[in-house]
Amino acid sequence: MGLITLENVSKIYGEDVRALDNVSLDIEEGEWVSIMGPSGSGKSTMLNLIGCMDTPSKGAVKIDSIDISELDKKELTKVRREKIGLVFQQFHLVPYLTAVENVMVAQYYHSMAEEEEARQALERVGLGHRGDHLPKELSGGEQQRVCIARALINYPKLILADEPTGNLDKENENIVLDLFNELHDQGHTIMMVTHDPKVGQLAERQINLDHGKLKDKPQISEDKELVS
């Protein structure tokens, strides 16, 4: 069994609006998977389900062998806290906390806020010298790297990234994607939602969604080195 397993998952809103329709999927540990598809294809719904922010209407979602379908909000929060590191398109850093404090926030809610460890995480993403700066004093790329450091700080099983390069210029996009490559090489499992086919092709596997269904069979990327 993979790290993430979706078994005949459907998410139905209202009477018959199927955001996800009978989707089955298996993601192995250490894999880098991209989820692609047009707006309204069900990407966000899938992300919400795998990110433990929602539960399916039908089927089962298993994360590290835990079926989250029947969990309540508190239990979902616990799984998210323990297993998942989130990277957002709009960075979502707490504006009044410094870079290092933003990393420590994730530590604080997980277990213990260790400033030294948080600074090391920033070093890891090349921001050791920017730890005491507020988000507004950082560039978009730097903010996204703080976000990645925050996602990594609790050693999650899965890094869930939602359009991580969507708000970045080309230069910063390459820096961030290089960082994801490094993480993948180190054995992290990455699941990334993206609109950009070039970014999507960096993954080992692309999952295409259309109208809540898997468009075709998951593929293994053949030109992984294309961008990096």
Binding site: M53, K78, F88, L97, E115
Partner: protein, 385 residues
């Protein structure tokens, strides 16, 4: 410890981030608690101050022989026993009276004598016990003076005497007659206007009642006189000490009305403070919706976020309460000076009371905002809302 440090770091920085909003809530608490602390400080003192003020209207206790016995008189020793039961600093004054009917000669050539009530008393206590008496001429400051008389206004009118005239009075019981110079005329607005006053020792001599008195009036400071009166009645035989209901009840009524008014004002102020703080906290929660969603997405449970908000509210309330108390105390001094012409006492109990009240109000005001926190979905962060 590190967790606590991070917690305080987040709370402190959250305050700094929203200085203006926090200032509004802080100001509301300071004003609210300030007024309440001021009212309470004044209220604690008001009964004492009012008691002092009401002493202007005369005695509040009357001493008489025990009504269970047939005695209508008592020895002056009984009076001294009762006097000794009061703290000297609380006993403003006391005035014994001995009554008797004598004949007084009307002014004029004809030898007409009219019955009048003769009252033997201590004139040096009139200012303390009957400060409202209007005195024309002089009262007899020396208790040994035995050739002067003070007439009630109506008695002076009926008998036709004025200050400086000589009045002859005759006690039919003892047959003693005395010529007395009118030294003063008093207006009291009560039965004393029809009476004739001399020094107590002279009255005792004329009436043949050495060391006897009928009643004594006391002017005593302080609240809760009833238990004291009860205790004196138990310990001193042959007497009956009672509160003068007119003064005591008006004092009680005024205090009751002030108390009701104060509670009403306090309720209104608390409600408005609650609304102001609650609205500000709701705005803060709305502004921090994304941050709250983010924290939840990062693994914070509702309880974590609620504790953060309640701590912010409690700190805001606590500091606001202490500052409010300080301002309230100054306000109380202003009220004390303008209304009672004296300072209001510092009461340590009002400090923790203000602190606790402000913390409670802040936390109560945060109930609705905290409910909003619970409803925030972490998915809003992923949706980019």
């Amino acid at each position: 410890m590190k967790k606590l440090q991070m917690f305080l770091r987040m709370v402190g920085k959250a305050f700094k981030e929203r200085k203006s909003r926090v200032a509004i809530a802080f100001f509301a608490i300071v004003v609210g608690v300030g007024i309440i602390a001021s009212l309470f400080s004044v209220y604690y003192d008001i009964s004492i101050k009012m008691s002092e003020e009401l002493r202007v209207y005369g005695a509040n206790l009357v001493l008489a022989p025990d009504s269970q016995t047939s005695n209508k008189e008592m020895n002056i020793k009984e009076l001294n026993k009762v006097v000794n039961k009061f703290d000297k600093d609380k006993l403003v004054g006391y005035r014994p009276n001995l009554y008797g009917v004598v004949k007084a000669k009307t002014k004029g050539v004809l030898d007409v004598k009219k019955p009048v009530v003769l009252v033997g008393t201590w004139f040096d206590q009139v200012d303390q016990v009957n400060p409202y008496w209007k005195v024309e001429g002089e009262l007899l400051a020396n208790k040994k003076v035995d050739d002067e008389v003070v007439l009630g206004k109506e008695a002076a009118k009926k008998l036709g005497y004025d200050i400086g005239d000589t009045l002859t009075i005759l006690s039919e019981k003892t047959g003693k007659q005395k010529e007395l110079i009118v030294s003063g005329i008093i207006t009291t607005g009560n039965e004393a206007d029809n009476q004739v006053f001399v020094n107590l020792t002279l009255a005792q001599e004329l009436l043949g009642k050495t060391n006897k008195i009928n009643v004594a009036y006391f002017s005593v400071l302080g609240q809760g006189l009833r238990p004291k009166v009860k205790q004196i009645n138990k310990t001193v035989d042959g007497i009956e000490l009672e509160t003068i209901k007119k003064i005591a009840s008006s004092e009680g009524k005024v205090l009751k009305k002030i108390k009701s008014l104060m509670y009403l004002v306090v309720m209104i102020i608390l409600l408005s403070t609650l609304l102001c703080v609650s609205t500000t906290m709701m705005t803060i929660v709305t502004e921090r919706k994304e941050e709250i969603g983010l924290k939840k997405a990062l693994g914070a449970e509702n309880s974590n976020i609620i504790i953060e908000f309640l701590t912010e509210a409690a700190i805001l309330g606590g500091i606001g309460g202490l500052v409010g108390y300080g301002i309230g105390f100054l306000g109380a001094q202003a009220i004390g000076q303008s209304v009672f012409d004296s300072y209001i006492s510092f009461r340590i109990m009002v400090v923790p009371a203000s602190f606790i009240l402000a913390v409670l109000v802040s936390c109560l005001a945060s109930i609705i905002p905290v409910r909003m926190v619970v409803d925030i979905d972490p998915a809003v962060v992923l949706k980019g809302e």
